[in-house]
């Protein structure tokens, strides 16, 4: 038998798991996964994002794949869109960079400028 407190704990935990099915605002990580992206290593980048998010138990983040963004020379490309719709584009991503983006940007809200487009640096 469960107590009311246990039930509330189940509610919170499960909601984290399935919150993507509601309209709730969350951070979106969109990875370019067209042929060029995959060839440049986008799969390992995506896996790195998923691992890191799980490891750090971060909620309200969605990771999804998108098609060709059109600048193949910068692949793998990852967009991070925050709750207010502001978009940051990271280029030439690697699994290591992905882990850092999760720690700095997703968890602490600090954009990793060094991984963004060259003109931002």
């Amino acid at each position: 038998m469960k107590t009311i407190a246990e039930l509330e704990a189940i509610r919170k935990r499960t909601l984290d798991e399935i919150s993507m099915r509601t309209d709730e605002e969350s951070v979106r990580i969109v990875i370019g996964m067209a042929t060029c992206g995959i060839a440049a290593g986008a799969r390992t980048v995506m896996t790195a994002f998923l691992d890191e998010i799980q490891k750090r138990n971060i909620h309200n983040v969605h990771v999804s794949a998108t098609g060709c963004i059109g600048v193949c020379r910068l692949e793998p490309i990852v967009d991070v869109i925050d709750k207010d719709g502001n978009k940051t584009t990271y280029v030439h991503m690697t699994p290591e960079k992905a882990a850092k983006v999760v720690v700095e940007h997703i968890a602490n809200g600090k954009i990793c400028v060094e991984y963004t487009l060259p003109e931002n640096k």
């Binding site: 038998m1 469960k2 996964m33 998108t66």
Partner: protein, 598 residues
């Protein structure tokens, strides 16, 4: 916690299961393992999304992309394109979706835009076989609130204030029913849920049970606490195996979590329930007959009063609520009666679920605020009539209801307006008919149903419905007399007045309403021996219109009884020999230039 980047929701309702959604899930699971995506993407079987016409339905989150009419053979392409490359497989999209930000979101399709889902809130969103997912979306929160913060009479007061009325047919105020039962002084009371959804073409209760069974359990416990009952029965049709199975799983999970039992969540409140299967008797949807059936007897209705709230199951005070009614209860407690009463019309609050079917593009399940017009339901949500045909009538209320003609298409739908039009809300079946549907034949169809389902206990219903059906049969075969119409009306009034239960009292409605709006069709059958809709076989004759005929010979080739002769080569016109013709209509269907008339 396992983090999944994507959830693929596949409809496991009866409609989609019938078109192989279970195999789609199997194939998805297999391919995800093959492509090593099974750790990052999760496949979830849900309840009905409502757009049954387009089934099997599959929705992909976080994008909310809705795919329709998915076949097992489409799964490989979907995995490769959408899941791996992030490209939407546009050929499988629902046609009315709007494109925005490159996303095709389910909420944006015209089918969902005008809907307001309260009773169906979790259908197509959660996995009905996992109690945790129900709990996540505020499940059992209303129960906790009721047991810890509210007294029984406060709950009843809340339901009364919300204006909730029974969704199974009659529309009796739910709060008053509970209050009546709560006032009875008795050591044993019962809560029953009517899931004996017998109206042909209505399947909202099944969808709630399949897609969100815990909402019914939660509401029944709340009802039990409110009226002082500690045991409940859910009476479900045996024809709904998936619903029964999911409800059974839900009951077991609720027991395991201590939500059913002797000491619910440690509050000391006691409640448990069991499922009873119907056995194919439509009359058991009537409340007293349903209770007789739970008692293990022939499901014949009994005289009211005494009402079940006073003397119900085994003579004990019992409340009986319909599935959709119960599904609203937790939300009313959570969001407050004012919230619920702010939706709908003056006397009909909240929303109503309709199963729209028949001659309509988007067959399916829709939940709309009371007061939405028939036109909005049929054209905006339902997508209109297929093949550009004309809307003729909508049938609501099943065998107890009536037909609403095109002239009343702008009527806002609520309990009162439908009764004024000679129909009724019923459980929410809404069958659309076009110019090819014969109204006399439809009346006969419903009468055949009631004749078959009359339990035989009282004479007006047992014999009266049979006499009416015989008259209708005569008319559809071209042997009717004008005086038959008066006879029908007299019989109808008598049966309405004298029958014991609602089955008999409402059985004449399909005849009365079609006579009211489509008397000319009845007269055409009788006077001209003609069926204006071209549907009554005995009155049809298929003929070839010579100046339209291109003498292709397709009709003659396809005729199963060789009733059509003619020749292109010898320039002999094609004709149908009426003595041989069996009126199967194959020639009519096959003719490429519509040269055959009926």
């Amino acid at each position: 916690m396992q983090f999944f980047r994507s959830h693929i929701l596949v409809c496991g309702g009866t409609g989609c299961t019938s078109s192989d959604s279970a195999k789609i899930i199997e194939e998805l699971d297999k391919l995800l393992v093959d492509k090593k995506l099974d750790k990052e993407i999760k496949v979830v079987q849900t309840g009905c999304f409502g757009l049954c016409e387009q089934g099997p339905i599959m929705v992909v989150y976080p994008e909310g992309t809705m795919y329709c009419k998915v076949k097992v053979t489409d799964v490989a392409e979907f995995v490769e394109e959408h899941l791996i490359k992030g490209r939407i497989v546009t050929r499988l999209l629902e046609k009315s979706s709007d494109v925005k930000d490159g996303e095709y979101a389910i909420e944006k399709s015209s089918f969902f835009k005008k809907q307001l889902r309260i009773a169906l809130r979790n259908c197509g969103v959660i996995n009905p076989e996992l109690i945790d997912e129900y709990i996540a979306f505020d499940g059992y929160k209303a129960l906790i609130k009721a047991l810890t913060e509210m007294k029984p009479d406060e709950i009843i007061e809340t339901i009364k204030k919300s204006g909730l009325r029974g969704r199974g047919g009659g529309g009796y105020p739910t709060g008053s029913k509970w209050e009546f039962a709560a006032k009875q002084d008795n050591d044993q009371k019962y809560v029953c849920c009517n899931a004996d959804e017998g109206d042909p073409g209505a399947f909202m209760d099944r969808s709630v049970l399949e897609g969100d069974p815990h909402s019914i359990i939660e509401a029944m416990i709340i009802a039990g606490y409110a009226i002082g009952a500690n045991y409940g029965f859910v009476y479900v049709r045996a024809e709904y195996p998936i619903a029964v199975k999911r409800l059974q799983i839900a009951i077991e999970q609720a027991r395991e979590y201590g939500l059913l039992g002797d000491n619910i969540l440690g509050t000391g409140v006691k409640f448990d329930l069991e499922i009873r299967l119907g056995a194919g008797a439509f009359v058991c949807g009537e409340e007293t007959a349903l209770m007789t059936s739970i008692e293990g007897k022939r499901g014949e209705p009994r005289v009211r009063p005494p009402y079940p709230a006073e003397k119900g199951l085994w003579q004990k005070p019992t409340i009986l609520n319909n599935v959709e009614t119960l599904a609203n209860i937790p939300m009313i407690l959570l969001k407050g009666p004012e919230w619920f009463a702010s939706m709908g019309t003056e006397k009909s609050k909240g929303t109503k679920v309709f199963a729209i079917g028949g001659k309509i593009n988007n067959t399916g399940l829709v939940e709309i605020p009371m007061g939405t017009t028939l036109r909005e339901v049929i054209y905006d949500i339902g997508g209109g009539i297929p093949g550009g045909k004309k809307f003729k009538a909508a049938q609501t209320g099943g065998p107890s209801g009536g037909c609403i003609p095109a002239s009343h298409i702008d009527t806002p739908i609520d309990y009162e307006s439908l009764i004024e039009l000679g129909s009724m809300m019923g459980s929410g079946g809404l069958i659309v008919m076009d110019e090819d549907t014969c109204m006399v034949d439809i009346a006969k169809f419903f009468l055949e149903f009631t004749v078959d389902e009359s339990c035989g206990k009282c004479t007006p219903c047992r014999l009266g419905t049979r006499r009416m059906m015989e008259i209708l049969d005569k008319i559809t075969k071209g042997r009717g007399k004008m005086s038959d119409l008066d006879e029908l009306e007299t019989l109808a009034r008598d049966i309405k007045a004298a029958s014991l239960c609602a089955l008999g009292q409402t059985a004449p409605n399909p005849i009365l309403s079609t006579l009211r709006y489509f008397r000319d069709e009845y007269e055409a059958h009788i006077r001209d021996h003609r069926c204006p809709a071209g549907s009554c076989k005995s009155l049809l004759s298929y003929e070839v219109t010579e100046d339209k005929c291109i003498r292709c010979g397709l009709c003659a080739k396809n005729c199963p009884v060789n009733a059509i002769t003619g020749s292109k080569k010898d320039e002999i016109p094609f004709v149908v020999d009426q003595d041989i013709c069996i009126k199967c209509g194959v020639c009519y269907q096959k003719c490429p230039v519509d040269a055959i008339t009926k």
